[in-house]
Amino acid sequence: MKKQTPIIEIKGLFKSFGKDKDVLRGVNINVNKGENLVVLGKSGSGKSITIKCLVRLVEADKGEIKVFGTELTNLAEDELNQVRLRIGFLFQNGALYDSMSVRENLAFPLQRHRPEFTDTQINIAIEETLESVGLIEAIDKMPSELSGGMRKRVGLARTLILKPEILLYDEPTTGLDTITSREISELIISIQMKFKTTSIIITHDMACAKFTSNRIVILRDGVVYTEGTYQDLEQSEDQWVRSFFI
């Protein structure tokens, strides 16, 4: 295979909260275009912080973050927003806007960033996107009426509507039953096929990791402890690594 420049490059990422709370201590991660990278790690190991640094929701203390070849660290707000628009972020519980219906949740980013769209175009885009996450029937529901799995689907639809090239999933299957988890994992793959996206998927769910990953990295003590394919890591000599696969 030809060596390509990665679409996401994280180099020497440091982040601490206060003096004695070093969360990240030099994380290095590269992600190639079209790849699905799964990030594993015990809870509190800094997985969410890492992907939040990627969109500068959290400011790193030190380190380089390049997305689409652009160094994010000193980007002005406008330029940063241009990059953010090309990245979709699925939050742990969907992060739907409570006060808006599903339709309004999806319309909200569109109205802001595609001011040239007419109402009809917006409605078509909303319906198409909901269709692709299999939730067209929920279009006029409020977030409080949705189940956990549905909320995540709507959250995903809301990020997809801006046609991002990178998707960041923060524990997409946590808190869901096995069947729904499986459906979400399948959705992740089908989205990748359809929209040709690159993804980072944080998860604890080994079934999801197995199903979705091209490659896995494991975080421990603030650094990437090891990486490899699911099969590589499953066979690992290292007791601690293998403990994830039990």
């Binding site: 929701l57 939050f91 739907l96 806007y97 409570d98 809301r158």
Partner: protein, 252 residues
């Protein structure tokens, strides 16, 4: 103890920066007019019943309570003017603002707090929508504008409450009552009292937003945000009132 005092100053510093940020973002596009109007509706219109009831009771009770004293001096005809004066200068602004601290500031604190905890604010930020502009600026502006209107409304209802209270013991038609009221009232009574209500509104909005917007993660922080919003907004109202009264005293 030292750490506690430091925390207080840290908090005040962060709050002042928050206010600076408000003024910085105020003039940046987009305007967020729709959300602003919605907030005016939520903060202003939805508080009307509560403000009406308290306003009416204030006027009524004040009249009933002051009557015996004035009657002793045979100065009952001063009653309408005196009640209106205390209502407009002090009682209606402060009580209405306190009611709004309880309803509006805590509502904003809880709403933004829960948006923060459930990562809705982060979600806005990553989809390149400025959450400060959309959520905070609109709410602070709406509160700054609506609280004065609510106070004016409470003034009116309070004077009417006074009229009802007056008529429990003696009879006076409303036209005569009103002329007694407006004979007493002057510019000095109305103008400074109105100016201070803008500050009440501003701080009710800012404190509610600050508490919610800076809530830490974890579900219990939503309750904490709502609670501190009420406490600090109420405290702020008293402090502003004190300063306003001193200032008015100096100027007029």
């Amino acid at each position: 103890m030292v750490i506690e005092i430091r925390n207080i100053f840290d908090g005040i510093g962060a709050f002042i920066l928050f206010i600076f940020r408000f003024f910085k973002e105020l003039f940046k596009p987009p305007l967020e007019l729709k959300e602003f109007i919605k907030q005016c509706y939520v903060i202003g219109y939805k508080s009307l019943p509560l403000v009406a009831i308290t306003g009416f009771i204030m006027g009524l009770v004040l009249t009933l309570q002051s009557r015996p004293t004035l009657a002793e001096f045979g100065a009952e005809s001063w009653l309408p003017g005196m009640v209106a004066l205390s209502l407009i200068r002090e009682i209606a602004p402060v009580i209405t603002a306190l009611i709004c601290a309880g309803k509006v500031a805590s509502g904003i604190g809880a709403e933004l707090g829960s948006m923060k905890v459930t990562e809705q604010i982060d979600a806005m930020e990553v989809s390149a929508i400025n959450p400060f502009k959309y959520l905070v600026v609109t709410r602070i502006l709406a509160a700054t504008l609506m609280i004065p209107l609510l106070v004016v409304f409470a003034d009116g209802i309070g004077i009417f409450g006074g009229f009802v209270g007056y008529n429990i013991h003696s009879e006076l038609n409303i036209i005569r009552y009103n002329s007694l009221v407006f004979e007493t009232l002057g510019f000095v009574d109305i103008f400074p009292a109105t100016i201070k209500t803008f500050f009440f509104g501003f701080f009710i909005g800012t404190i509610g937003c600050y508490m919610g917007f800076t809530a830490s993660n974890g579900t219990e922080s939503v309750g904490k945000a709502a609670n501190s919003a009420v406490v600090y907004a109420s405290l702020a109202i008293f402090i502003i009132d004190m300063l306003a009264v001193q200032l008015t005293d100096l100027i007029f």
